[in-house]
Symmetry: D2
Subunit: 185 residues, 4 copies
């Protein structure tokens, strides 16, 4: 348990971290860029950064999600931004929701266009998550498409390439009530 | 008065909007880029954009600030992000605080490095403000240096090139109590 | 036959023109960017631009190459830069060599990293080709890896991700002797 | 005296090397970026890089130009690209012309928009110079505005923001006849 607020960035890879590899012609991972980005963003408070994994979220299985959830639960900080691929972001967020601590505000984000690409939404999205994580009550959220959604009321609309609320009153933020299980602690 | 939340971006120019002019060798304004950025950020909710002015915030006088405050008070939306130069951002935020509506959450942001320049904090900062404006109670705030500050408890530290709290418990967000004057309504 | 020099850019697509498509997660083509780039490069002489095709050079067949060669032979200008994928650039250059006019200097270029990606070699390469096309005698050349090669003495080394001379005295530019067939004229 | 061709990049600073300094709000120099750029450009031949000075070319005096000319004359390589501010590029090129060796091809370039800024002509221009330096006979040239000019027949048109020929048949490259003085050797 930590007594003072502390901002943490965890990365799981995802499109946001991908860069072009000339020899294969593919977008893939070399290393996490989150430490460089934190400097570029001129964040003045104390920040900790941890690379949990660097994979495409379509390749994440239950074991990967458990690793992520365990890392979150064991992180002293209570304001946690998680970079993650968009395709299974909701699934991972729900897994983290089952295991995180009661004092933790956790915001997942990612990008539809890699940060290494022109016209990317990456830096805006990390900002969106960083703004939300410092202002929302404990719980698990997804910050994408310019909005903040509770993790249990959001889905990715793949054909439109955006996240949307699963609630009928689309767009209004509700504070999620987390089921507190305390799995890994 | 509006019944539903609505996201508004106002721009006053500032470093964030500056671009390089080859003929003069100076960084200055050509036009606002906020509409292009909103597309790049892939914001899916309805957004309105308004260019209030495009000037260096060191050149803003009381009349400019009054124009801004009047524009805010007359804007139907209640979630308002304002792009502004950093040098007099606090002064403008305090002016807006005197005149805005009780239902409005207003977040100022800007950049230490122009968005047109590599290694800019601009897009992260706009994201930070956009996350904060949707999650904070009504009031006037500044989102810079990775943090969100109430407008009446923040200053720019010019030698360090960052914003910091004027409160002794630096870094903890307090909800501002706005003095409600209703000047322009 | 043209009496005065005239700079022409033709594009066949290739990696240099690819951009990221969020819905598929693939790098592919939307439209040619060469006209925008010519403005950005601040080229002051008269320039003509033509989009011949927009495809991955691995998908080019004899018919595509014939279309390209015919377009070149029918182009009034005699200084021609061709944007092309790197994988079959040499093959296309040899095909163009068989059919181009005696007064034409033709320089192929492309990129190992798309222009839309950070850390791209694209703009440098287009510059390299534009410098070479204005200074070399008629013939067909490839401008890649910081060098200019005659089209009949160069290969792509795929494992090293670069172009290299097939001559023993690697790196010395020789002026190509074109076999003049006049196929399409 | 060197027996084999060798590519050399010298930098004198100029707009091309400037970056934004947040604390002053000015574009100025921190360090040369030419070594990073050479990597980005994927140049495969052997390259040497030397930072001669990092200043605005308006601040260059005769002593600065003599330092540059001496450096060029003492450089073993015979293919030399020089990054330089645009305002006094022609003056420096003429000074270098008086002192360089008979075997040296020297191409000056720079940028109207800093490389650190979006929409820069910098990388194209360096490519233009690198293409020209490998294909032109010994002499001193300026590669700007998409063209290559002999150093003794070019001027910067400040109102149009471009370089242009001082000859009546504007746009045709003529090979410069250098006055060979051998000053520093």
């Amino acid at each position: 348990m930590t007594s003072s607020p502390s901002l943490v960035f965890l990365t799981c890879g995802g499109t946001i971290e991908k860069i072009y590899q000339p020899n294969t012609g593919q977008l893939t991972f070399d290393q996490s860029h989150i430490s460089d980005w934190v400097k570029q963003f001129r964040i003045s408070q104390s920040v900790s950064v941890d690379v949990v994994m660097l994979i495409d979220s379509l390749e994440m299985n239950d074991s990967h999600r458990e690793t992520l959830a365990r890392t979150v639960a064991n992180t002293p900080g209570n304001q946690i931004v998680i970079l993650h691929g968009t395709d299974t972001m909701v699934e991972s967020a729900k897994c983290v929701m089952l295991h995180c601590r009661e004092d933790q505000t956790i915001v997942f984000t990612g990008a539809m266009v890699p940060a290494s690409q022109q016209q990317s939404d990456a830096f805006f999205n990390i900002g969106l998550a960083t703004g939300a994580v410092q202002t929302l009550p404990p719980g698990v959220y997804i910050a994408m498409s310019g909005q903040i959604f509770p993790a249990n009321a959001v889905q990715k609309n793949k054909s439109l390439g955006r996240f949307e609320s699963t609630e009928s009153d689309n767009g209004t933020l509700r504070i999620t009530k987390r089921k507190q299980t305390g799995g890994f602690r």
